[in-house]
Amino acid sequence: MLKESLREAIVEIRYEEVAGIVGSALDSGVPPLEVLSELRAGLTTVGDRYQSGELFLSHLFLAAETMKEALEVLQPLLSEGGGEGSRGKVVIGSIEGDIHDFGKVIVSSLLSAAGFTVIDLGVDVPAERFVDEAERAGADVIGISALLSTTQPSCRRVVEELEKRGIRERYRVIMGGTGVSPEIATARYGADAAVNDGVEGVRIISGWMGGGER
């Protein structure tokens, strides 16, 4: 029953109550890792329902935000137990010339909810800055958002900048945007992956970082 309420808290976006629900589960002896696993199961359900067209973008986003609220309570306990640190660092931003923010914000939120550390650089970010910030943060993944056909080619510049500095192999690069054609984008712009669906993007990054989807 308690476990169900954890899943439900995410699926039904109990944003205001989720911290209390997590607290009750912990108080009654559910181990933190098990709480996390139930919450994630809820988020996976929302992701699946989003991809099947049953749920919409705002629901996906708010479910991730609810998950983040829950993690505020849970993360200190998880770190204490040594059970679950960050799953990896992702530097993310909209490429130079692209002023679209929303898709990127949703993906950032989904990544945080999935346990990644996210460094969001905002919009209109020059290629050099992606690389500078990735280096500074010791990131594992660079996520480049580009909505328009006119800005997608600029993503190539991030890859070129990595190559120029001789550090291409240190990073996985993923490109995303609702207008992105994955095959064209990976072939033309040199990213390791390209997606037009945020849930799919998080799935790919989870796969790269090991442990698959959790």
Binding site: I13, F56, L57, S58, H59, E65, D124, S149, T150, T151
Partner: protein, 372 residues
Amino acid sequence: MRPRERLLTTLDHREPDRVPLTARLWLDTRLRLMEHYGVASDEELNAVLGIEPDRAFIGVRPPASWSPSPEYEGFCKATGYDCREQYATYEEWGVERRLGSERPGSSLRQFYFTRYPWEGFTEVEEVEEVELPDLDAPGRFVEAEETARRMRDERVVFGEVGHCQWTKAWELRGMIRFMKDLHTRPRMAAAILDRLNAHYVDVADRLLDAGAAGLRFSEDWGNNKSLFIGREMWRRFFKPRYKKLFDRARRRGAFVFFHSDGNIAPIVGDLVEIGIDILNPVQPECMDQAWVKEEYGDRITIDTGISVQKTLPLGTVEEVREEVRRTFRQLAPGGGFVYGTSHYAMYDVPVENVVALYGACRRYGAYPIDIP
């Protein structure tokens, strides 16, 4: 047929002499086309392409006492938009914006938001008490009245209500914050939408008084894949408020023109039910245009165009022509159809594809439609 008569005929779901054409061409695309055709003005370019001046838009303008600073004029010029229209849409509401970086190949720059003036509101009362732009200020509708008077016999005059509920709400509140309101603070969301609804009902009435024969509402509801919010939430928060706005036009026999990017298939039926007459842009990479025609084509005009995400920038000349042929075959018969570009033809679009697009429109657009 004269352009206005052609448009009115198709809006009346009868076949005019040929399909009315439109275009949204990014400045640099226009300039390259002008060079290609050896013409010097937008009017001449439109004439060569076969786009006739069949519509005009009027809207809210700043008070007569307002004058832009040189910096603000520079900002607007860089975006390519009219600064009086922009001020009344954004800055007058307290929204702040910044220019995006320069792009190779583009003379214009895009903008993004840096301040959402209602973002910090925590109480419903703050929304109820915040001051909105004063529509009674002298000079607001002088240009609208003058343009409507001058154009009414030559063109179909639309009053630009523009962003008015969803899009205006997130421009003021921030999209993230407003989505949270919808899901977790419904009273706050409703207060914001009510405040905007009352304001834009007033705007709608004044534009109709100024002489508009239709009202255009611009709200972007979808991405390529789906709606931003679920249909039930849309029905609860937005449908009744849109109906109230659309009714202002309908009770005076004026057209309701609704623009939304993206895949809005789940709400097209609702929009038709509450009275839209024209749906734009029905982007081909987002929605099944043939389905819209099949289901609703007897009640609404589909004001659409070629794919600007795929075919126009990336396709071949023959693929452009084939998309025109296919679309005209499916959508043009019976009227209720306007064609051009389904959004901006950006600066990456090859000139030959635009030339092919309008060439095919002129060649295949004559009624009765007979395309092998």
